[in-house]
């Protein structure tokens, strides 16, 4: 699994820590929502970035008060057909004002990247061997969009009526 962030393939030094595992020191870690809610104070006190993984049935409202203390939120896509994360991403970006990284993890494939990015996802755990060319291709398959999202892209309607 490779990590693409802001349009580049980057090293992934994040560690997923299970609910009962000891938290490793000095590395950025992901914990589940359950663990975050149970140990927020400890986690917030760490000297490395902290991330929360939301399963596809965990809406981000649960961490709405902590968003400025979390650097990355990982949204799980257990199968690419489970589209709940798209709504979660938009809520995080557009309603709750989350400014950290939103990372799509799980079954995250070529044909979903563009829609995910429009919803506010800016990092993708992609299949090993994915090239940045493929990623860029996926991102530019459509030059126009009908709907406005938080990504600031001008919509077809706006283009039609610009004076």
């Amino acid at each position: 699994m490779s990590l693409i962030r802001n349009g580049s393939i980057v090293d992934n030094d994040w560690v997923n820590v299970g609910d009962d595992e000891t938290l490793p020191a000095d590395v950025p870690v992901f914990v589940s929502l359950t663990r975050w809610l149970a140990e927020r104070e400890t986690l917030m006190g760490r000297n490395t970035p902290i991330g929360v993984t939301l399963s596809s049935s965990e809406a981000p409202e649960a961490i709405i008060d902590d968003l400025d203390r979390i650097q990355v939120i990982a949204l799980q896509f257990p199968t690419f057909k489970d589209g709940r994360g798209y709504s979660y991403a938009r809520l995080l970006r557009e309603r709750y004002g989350f400014e950290g990284e939103i990372r799509a993890s799980g079954d995250v494939l070529y044909d979903q990247w563009f829609a995910m990015s429009r919803c506010g996802v800016d990092a993708f755990e992609v299949p090993e061997g994915t090239t940045i060319e493929a990623f860029n291709e996926a991102m530019t398959e459509f030059s126009l969009v009908y709907q406005a999202t938080g990504d600031g892209r001008q919509t077809v309607m706006q283009l039609r009526h610009r004076s």
């Binding site: 690419f80 798209y86 494939l109 919803c119």
Partner: protein, 552 residues
Amino acid sequence: MYRYDEFDHTLVRERVAQFSGQVKRRLAGEMTEDQFKPLRLMNGLYLQLHAYMLRVAVPYGTLSGKQMHMLAHIARKYDKGYGHFTTRQNIQYNWPKLDEVPAILEDLASVEMHAIQTSGNCIRNVTSDQYAGAAAGEIDDPRIWSEIIRQWSTFHPEFTYLPRKFKFAVAGMREDRAAIRFHDIGIELVKGVDGKVAFDIYAGGGQGRTPMIAPLIGTAVPADDLIAYVESILRVYNMNGRRDNLYKARIKILVHAIGAEEMKRQVEEEFSHAKNDPNLTLPAAEIARIRTYFEAPAFETLPDISDAFEKEKTENKRFADWVHTNVATHKMPGYAIANISLKPIGGVAGDASADQMDVVADLTNEFSFDEVRVTHEQNLTLPHVRKQDLFTLWQKLDATSLGDANLALITDHIVCPGLDYCALANARSIPISQEIAERFEDLDRQHNIGELKIKISGCINACGHHHAGHIGILGVDKKGTEFYQVSLGGSADETPSVGEIVGPAFTEDKIADAIETIVETYLGVRIGGERFLDTYRRIGKEPFKEKLYVTN
């Protein structure tokens, strides 16, 4: 009707390129079928019993003559010379080849058509009233709002992977020819408190395994808030619809589970944010722009009575019969709405040959301001025909077996493709329709019976809308033999009702007899001008049950 601008054209072209890329990757083994399937479904491509099936979108059922000619061309060039018009106003081709679908899509794009989102767990074709812009009493042309919803829902990045498919229908007035109460979202245009266009928004209707009539969720929602409101419903659904069980994943299940009140509360909660989102406000300029495409055509000023038309009716009984059932009142004097039956006795309900499509295309151009509509009951409608032209029109239709005078009569069926085509079916449906139609072929008898809508499905998915049939027939498989279960009293109009099963299922050789028994029972007790549905609503199912299951 709506015409693409450069932006619409670009998006459709890019979609064709995208799908071509996806097909290439699939054929090169870069994608498994499991990964490819949702993508091909979102371009309308199914795998059915005998072959692939391509479902082409006909937005709110509206076509120009040129587009109908292209549909004929596709049938000839890529398929086996015919197409099937569906209960969602689309057209299906039953024999396309996967590697030719990109070329089909390119041909479609050249006439502003596509197969986008006609399948898959996304927002599907928005359907509407086939009499839009022609019938009197419309609050506003529902297709304006259908087009707005269409663009908003096309490639919507948040709603591409919903729990299940999502279907919209829009009616422009209280009289409902679009079956809005049986849709995931059904919209009725109403007058708001300020006298302007507003929407009563129903959510959670559907047929399938668990038929439900959509409850009212939003009352008189102002036009400006339409997109914010439907986006709110979709978000609530996307986040809360079931993902664990495909058969319980529609919004109707969610609404039923939490109740209409709670659904409304959640939607209003979401809407309280959405309505202030400038991203979701429809600019007046855009509404005005779309409205211009649906302005009335250049109607002539005509007397309401056409002497020629009156004369032709007296001189030709077959024509008069056709007028009696198939011609509806137009809001403009001297004009009429002409319905084309795709249910000839002995034919396949809803099918049209390439030749027939070409004839209809020419007639559309010549007699109906270049506009034809597909109806959800699998017929076609020419919305704006001068009364003085009806006879010539009918003669040309009749010459190509499109002149059957049976609209809404007992031989005008909605029929799903059934086990003859569909991989999901348990029983054949088309032959049952043919048998019944042949049994009731006599037109005088049909007229005597009056309006009686039979709807036939080959499996529990109810694509034949059997739950909403005055008489509904559901094909089932009992230990390898096809049986047919009958329900009575369903209705898809503004008085919606789900049909009630009348008793044990019938075999294929008994089903037509059963229909005869039902009809005879009705004729024996009807009062005044009662239609079958009216009689049923008055007397209930017992009298029919008694006659059907007489124990000797």
